[in-house]
């Protein structure tokens, strides 16, 4: 009677995380920050800048033993040291949200779950140029 419980406990301790070696986001355009490069303005407060949002479909994959739910894991992601190399020390704040994983395939005794990432970039202080950083993802059993 206790054997299934033990088996579940044993497999629950196994999780594999797959990430691509790099993620290249779509370039930022002026249209998503303002209407255009010239905006008619009649002296009222300036309209706020648009928020730059990037959704990365299938950005990460979880390999779990069949029958183990991804809900039993806490997924966390954060972007570190994201900025322009010319502006040493000036970092662009990025808020990362991991969307609920979905089952995409089975590999032997494993199920592959895929999750999208949504990144909100605050570019208000960034200079132009390539911006680079490190995405760190952690998976922790609940």
């Amino acid at each position: 009677m206790l054997a299934p419980f033990l088996a579940a406990l044993a497999v629950a301790s196994q999780v594999q995380l797959e990430l691509p070696p790099q993620l290249v986001l779509e370039p930022v355009s002026v249209e998503e920050l303002a209407e255009s490069t010239a905006v008619s303005w009649e002296g009222n407060p300036l309209p706020p800048l648009g928020v730059v949002v990037r959704r990365v479909p299938g950005a990460l994959r979880l390999l779990l033993p069949i029958g183990v739910s991804p809900a039993s894991f806490q997924l966390a992601a954060q972007v570190r040291e994201f900025g322009n190399r010319q502006d040493q020390g000036l970092r662009v704040p990025v808020k990362v949200t991991v969307l609920p994983p979905r089952l995409v395939e089975r590999r032997g005794d494993w199920e592959v779950w895929e999750a999208d990432l949504v990144l909100h970039l605050d570019l208000s202080r960034a200079s132009s140029g390539p911006l680079a950083g490190r995405l760190e993802v952690s998976v922790l059993g609940r």
């Binding site: 993620l23 490069t37 008619s40 303005w41 950083g133």
Partner: protein, 201 residues
């Protein structure tokens, strides 16, 4: 016996792996952030100076004291004496320097320059209330109250799109060719154009 096996198995599992599984991964992330400048401009501005302000701009006061004049040369005839106070009615500023603060604003993520120019400098009377015209000339701009006025000014430290740069504009207005059509007590002159351009440098 069964109980012993269970405890042993649990102990082995507990030491062999953490109770909760975990994994961590890193990946590089890139995005291209192109040079962006956003110009916020006014499509129309109406200047409505008062008569008192205009008089002050033209002459400093009204009436204008042109100074004491000693008339020593007279033409005399029987029963009359005629002299000429020749001091001209000065001062009079033909060109009135007109400044408009907060004429435009700029956000940019790369060093930029602003150039202002007059593309139509004739403010034509509407023919009903005003005749003739008012002429615009010598347009200049300054950024962020720097005190440096020129047709083109530069900003080497834009500070990112979160920073707003305020632009002022000034130009001369020559009212000498404008008149009111009676019985109107004010007149409209219009459709001069000042162009503002932002470019990277």
């Amino acid at each position: 016996m069964k109980k012993t096996t269970l405890v042993a198995t649990l102990l082995v599992l507990g030491f062999a792996a953490p109770l909760f599984a975990q994994a961590t991964g890193n990946t590089s992330i890139y995005v291209v952030y192109p040079r962006i400048a956003i110009l916020y401009y006014r499509s129309s501005i109406t200047l409505q100076p008062s008569a008192a302000d205009l008089i002050t701009a033209f002459a400093g006061s009204n009436p204008v004291n042109t100074g004491a004049t000693t008339i020593s040369t007279f033409t005399a005839a029987l029963g009359s004496l005629e002299g000429d106070a020749t001091t001209p009615a000065t001062p009079f500023s033909t060109n009135v320097l007109t400044t408009i603060n907060n004429f435009y604003q700029v956000r940019a993520n790369y060093q930029f320059q602003v150039t202002v120019s007059i593309t139509d400098g004739t403010l034509q009377g509407d023919g009903t209330t005003g005749s003739g015209n008012i002429l615009m000339s010598n347009v200049e701009t300054e950024l962020n109250d720097s005190g440096t006025w020129a047709a083109t000014v530069q900003q080497p430290n834009p500070g990112g799109l979160g920073t707003v740069h305020k632009g002022d504009v000034r130009f001369d207005l020559d009212f000498s060719g404008a008149a009111l059509i009676a019985p109107n007590t004010s007149a409209t002159f219009g459709d001069g154009v000042v162009q503002t351009q932002v470019a990277f440098y």
